[in-house]
Amino acid sequence: MKQSFKMIFSLCLIAVVSAVVLAKVYQITQPAITANEKKATEVAVYKVVSAANSYKEAKIGEIDIFKCYDENNKLCGFAFTVEGVGYQDLIKVMVGVSADFNKILAIEVLENSETPGLGNKIETPWFENQFQNLDLQNKITVVKGVPQKNSEIQAITGATISSEAVVDIVNNKIEELKKSK
């Protein structure tokens, strides 16, 4: 009896001390962690809507978006994150579109775990820059050669699936946004 009481007591003591210590550490580190996350979003938003000077979080239908304003406080575009499955795992992209929803301003791949050296080239400026000023009247499509139309993206050699995945998840979200607008 005394034995088991000692066991329970020491286990509980360890658990309580651990919880208290962790609560304290969490409290101390939390502001920095939130600030880091906010900063990461901020950097990405300003990158995809380069004219933006400030932004506000808002909703279109059910979808979270960032409304971007230029220095005269005029609406200059929208930014939003899209995510979906690529060749292997999750791909997360920040997309910037113009205020009239007619063209893409820029995109930035935030997270991916595609094949190193092939699929993860979706993170390179060469691939991302292809999205700049794309026409949104038509769906974006992936081609294997040099793009002919202003809604075409050249696929990465050896990584067509990753290239198509990025285009698909961007297309889907834009379609959704257009509907709920």
Binding site: Q3, K6, M7, S10, L11, I14, A15, S18, V21, L22, V25, Y26, T29, A32, I33, N36, E37, A40, E111, T115, P116, G117, L118
Partner: protein
């Protein structure tokens, strides 16, 4: 003087003779998973060393108060606490590294190296020896990670710590960055360590 000798041998054995990765073959999961770049290998090594050092110290201090029957759960809770602290610290101060190491930070909890040292050493020895042992094992672990990740980063990207080190017509061996490359490199490095060990042993024999 003898006391210092004991401490020194507690420390030094982790570096080669009982090197966790190459000799004892424990703590393999993070070893393989995060060593595609030296930066990540180093960060993982330091995070593990910190957790090992902190848990060994605490457990060795309280070794007489923790009942034998529940020692394993107690150790695991203590280790998990320190790993959570490491994880929060990384997230707050080094968000980039925290993102790169991702899900492998919490896995330090179940790194057999840490629990193994508590069971085999910290729970039986005084605190100063436990600290020496933890430091030696931690540094040995970190050095092994650096060795493995250097090979993989140089061959896989032609860089070391992000600086270009191979010039000219070199085409990076992408396979080194992928899971198969990790297994192959570690297997071959293990063979190399065995060859060196054997050569050292033979030389000692000849001297005698």
């Amino acid at each position: 003087m003898r006391k210092i000798n004991v401490l020194f041998s507690d420390f030094i054995k982790g570096l080669w003779q009982e090197n966790p990765i190459f000799r004892l073959l424990i703590g393999m999961c993070p070893t393989l998973a995060v060593t595609s770049q030296v930066k990540n290998g180093l960060a993982m090594g330091l995070a593990t060393t910190f957790t090992l050092l902190a848990s060994s110290t605490i457990i060795s201090i309280f070794r007489n108060f923790i009942p034998k029957e529940v020692r394993i759960p107690s150790y695991i809770v203590i280790i998990a606490t320190f790993v959570t602290i490491v994880s929060l610290f990384l997230k707050a101060n080094f968000p980039e590294i925290s993102k790169e190491l991702g899900p492998y930070v919490p896995l330090i909890i179940v790194n057999c190296l840490i629990l193994g040292r508590q069971e085999a050493f910290a729970s039986k020895n005084p605190t100063h020896r436990a600290i020496a042992d933890a430091l030696g094992m931690g540094i040995g672990f970190t050095l092994s990670l650096i060795a493995l990740s250097s090979v993989r980063e140089v061959l896989g990207m032609g860089t070391l710590l992000g600086h270009q080190v191979i010039f000219g017509n070199f085409r990076p061996w992408i396979i080194m960055l992928t899971p198969p490359g990790a297994f192959l490199t570690l297997g071959l490095l293990l063979g190399l360590v065995n060859i060196i060990n054997k050569a050292v042993k033979n030389r000692k024999k000849k001297k005698q």
